[in-house]
């Protein structure tokens, strides 16, 4: 049997005999009716749903952690009052308890599937509750899995319900493979929590014969039935080499030849500081300050703000902390920052710096609080403005910051206009920080929230790389630094390309820091430059990525 490919959602390599879970609850016949005693039938349905809810809750308590939350939510589904009304109505109309349960769930199921994305993936949870209730009503056995095994098995299924997987451990399961599901499916979440490799969206997986040895790579998504001993050894070695390489790369971010690329953390408030320090962040490249402002009827006082800023500054003595001033707008409305008119396209509305210019008192209070915090700390505080489109806006912002006593003021580059005229902006601003997520949204006219458009949000899109290169060139012309603080910075391969393009610092979610640090440390600045040139010559995201990789041989040792 040839290898299958899915989406790797939990890293690592797993190998063991395949255990194929083939469990289907029969669908109650459409014409199934009860004998006439609607009251007794309603009781059967109610009791079955309650039994399922109690069982799910009990499994949750035994499993604890993430699984307990998931199973608790499923128990709520079984006890849903709206569902109960639907079941009762169907039974009163003569349907059997099992059929009534099936149909009542069906309406909600359709709604979830239609919504797609995260909600679509919840349909599997709902199906599991439904099938369990029907099994109880019909007296059928409930699905179960061996919770002990002589040798850890590779669990293969069409999809897995949390109730099936919650009580499993890594002593029993070597890897998970499902035909359905996505990166936010429960299989993915639980596998990551358990530290077990997992591949989802792998068509054909359940056709693997039970007992066949299966090799699973949770990074590449490769599922190989009956592999050779050599293949197993190679895959295992690559995985342990990757772990060792990640652990071995420590210290400040730099290329193999010693060119420094500071690695910073994106944080949303003081609570994220521990994670940043744990992963070796050299400072903060993006401190989002919105958390202080949301869900309030009045703006936070200067004192309150100063305390929150100081808490983060104090975590990085002598280090750098880049604070983004308030990025509010029509999609994140604040009671004290009223929009000045209807905004049919919030992403194109009066947000970020545009809104602050209309409410200078909010900006002035924030800047004063930042200056106050900076004066009390040894960290190097820098501030930057979101949503800057023109050199005039950059000049206004920088002047306002300087008046407030803040020596370093930069702008985010997230609007194509700003990247196109980066040299003009660099003359005004002290530094740039590229927000690749919004830059992609505005470059491709593709809403970040629309799942169907994710291909256009790919940071490897050559048009986006062109704009990054333009922004860097503009900054270089005026001797100003240009960092990246979008998702792109956390992709270890793209991080090398960005360094090669001349980006001077990379800021990312703290968990992404070790892989980026390791990837950079294994390549020289010249290799990064060659990779960047190759990526820019690509005509598609896949082409750009493949071309860049061919110049980055050290990635192989990281199994990336």
């Amino acid at each position: 049997m040839t290898a299958l490919t899915g989406v790797g959602v939990s890293p690592g390599v797993g190998f063991g005999p395949g255990y194929v879970l083939a469990y289907e609850t029969p669908v109650p016949a459409p014409g199934a009716r009860h004998g006439g005693d609607a009251g007794a039938e309603r009781d059967r349905a109610t009791r079955a749903l309650e039994q399922v809810a109690a069982d799910l809750e009990e499994r949750g308590v035994r499993a604890g952690g993430e699984a307990q939350d998931i199973l608790g939510a499923q128990a709520l589904m079984a006890r849903d009052p709206g569902l109960a009304v639907g079941v009762t109505g169907l039974i009163d109309a003569g349907k059997s308890a099992a059929r009534a349960v099936y149909e009542a769930f069906g309406g909600y199921r359709e709604m979830l599937v239609d919504a797609g994305g995260y909600l679509g993936e919840r349909a599997a949870d709902l199906d599991d509750v439904r099938d369990r209730a029907i099994a109880v009503i019909e007296g059928l056995p409930l699905p179960g899995l061996p919770s002990r095994a002589a040798q850890p098995y590779v669990l293969i299924a069409r999809d897995l319900a949390p109730a099936d997987t919650a009580l499993l451990s890594r002593d029993v399961v070597a890897a998970f493979v499902t035909e359905q599901g996505g990166p936010t499916s429960h299989t993915a979440i639980l596998a990551r929590a358990m530290g077990v490799p997992a591949v989802v969206a792998c068509p054909g997986a359940t056709s693997i014969a039970p007992g066949t040895p299966v090799l699973v790579d949770g990074v590449s998504g490769l599922v190989r039935p009956a592999p050779s001993e050599e293949e197993v050894a190679t895959a295992r070695n690559a995985a342990s080499a990757r772990d060792a390489a990640l652990a071995a790369a420590t210290g400040p971010g730099m290329t193999a030849d010693g060119h420094a690329v500071p690695l910073l953390a994106n944080i949303g408030g003081p609570r994220d500081v521990d994670g940043a320090l744990e992963h070796g962040a050299e400072g903060v490249g993006l401190y989002r300050t919105e958390f202080l402002f949301l869900d309030r009827t009045t703006a936070p006082s200067g004192e309150e703000q100063e305390a929150a800023y100081l808490e983060v500054l104090d975590a990085f003595p002598g280090g750098r902390v880049v604070v983004r001033t308030l990025d509010a707008g029509a999609d994140k409305p604040l009671a004290f920052l009223p929009p000045q008119g209807e905004e049919p396209n919030p992403a194109l509305g009066q947000r970020g710096l545009r809104l602050l210019r209309a409410h200078p008192e909010i900006l002035n209070t924030q800047l004063a609080a930042l200056a106050g915090a900076a004066a009390r700390s040894s960290a190097k505080l820098q501030v930057m403005a979101p949503m800057v489109a023109t050199a005039e806006e950059a000049a206004w912002y920088v002047a306002t910051c300087k008046e407030a006593g803040l020596p370093s003021a930069g702008v985010m580059i997230e609007i194509p206009a700003a990247a196109l005229r980066a040299a003009d902006l660099a003359e005004e601003a002290d530094f740039f920080s590229l927000g690749t997520n919004d830059l992609a949204q505005y470059t491709f006219a593709a809403d970040r929230q629309v799942g169907a458009l994710t291909a256009l949000q790919d940071a490897w899109q050559p048009a986006l790389l062109d704009l990054v290169a333009l922004a860097v060139a503009g900054a270089v012309e005026h001797g100003k630094p240009c960092g990246v603080c979008g998702e792109a910075a956390g992709d270890p391969v793209l991080a090398c390309v960005l360094a090669g393009l001349g980006v001077t610092s990379l800021s990312m979610a703290p968990a992404a820091l070790p892989a980026v640090r390791a990837a950079l440390s294994r390549h020289t600045r010249e290799q990064c430059r060659l990779a960047a040139r190759a990526a820019l010559a690509g005509t598609s995201p896949q082409g750009a990525r493949a071309a860049a990789r061919s110049h980055l041989p050290g990635l192989a040792g990281l199994a990336l």
């Binding site: 939350d69 608790g72 939510a73 709520l76 589904m77 849903d80 009052p81 709206g82 569902l83 909600y108 709604m111 979830l112 919504a115 995260y118 909600l119 919840r122 709902l126 949303g268 958390f291 949301l294 869900d295 999609d331 994140k332 409305p333 929230q449």
Partner: protein, 85 residues
């Protein structure tokens, strides 16, 4: 009829754990409680399936309503859950 209007702050929106906590809390109240997304149709706040079907995402505004003794107290609790980051 008392009501609260809040912006949902959690990254996952009013799904997953926030939705479950919201519904569990509403279920404990001996009153009818509804929740609506923006100016939309209100649904039973004690129904996880109805709350999920609103598909409330991060940054969306929800309106929570209840009537009767203790309404303000339960609404305060629910508003806190809905707006927690």
């Amino acid at each position: 009829m008392a009501e609260r209007q809040v912006t949902v702050e959690a990254e996952v929106g009013l799904h997953a754990r926030p939705a479950a906590t919201f519904v569990q809390t509403a279920t404990k109240a001996p009153l009818d409680v509804t929740v609506a997304k923006g100016g939309g149709q209100p649904v039973n706040a004690k129904s996880i399936l109805a709350v999920l079907s609103l598909d409330v995402r991060q940054g969306d505004t929800v309106v929570i309503k209840a009537e009767g003794e203790g309404a303000d107290e339960i609404l305060d609790q629910l508003a806190l859950i809905a707006s927690a980051p």
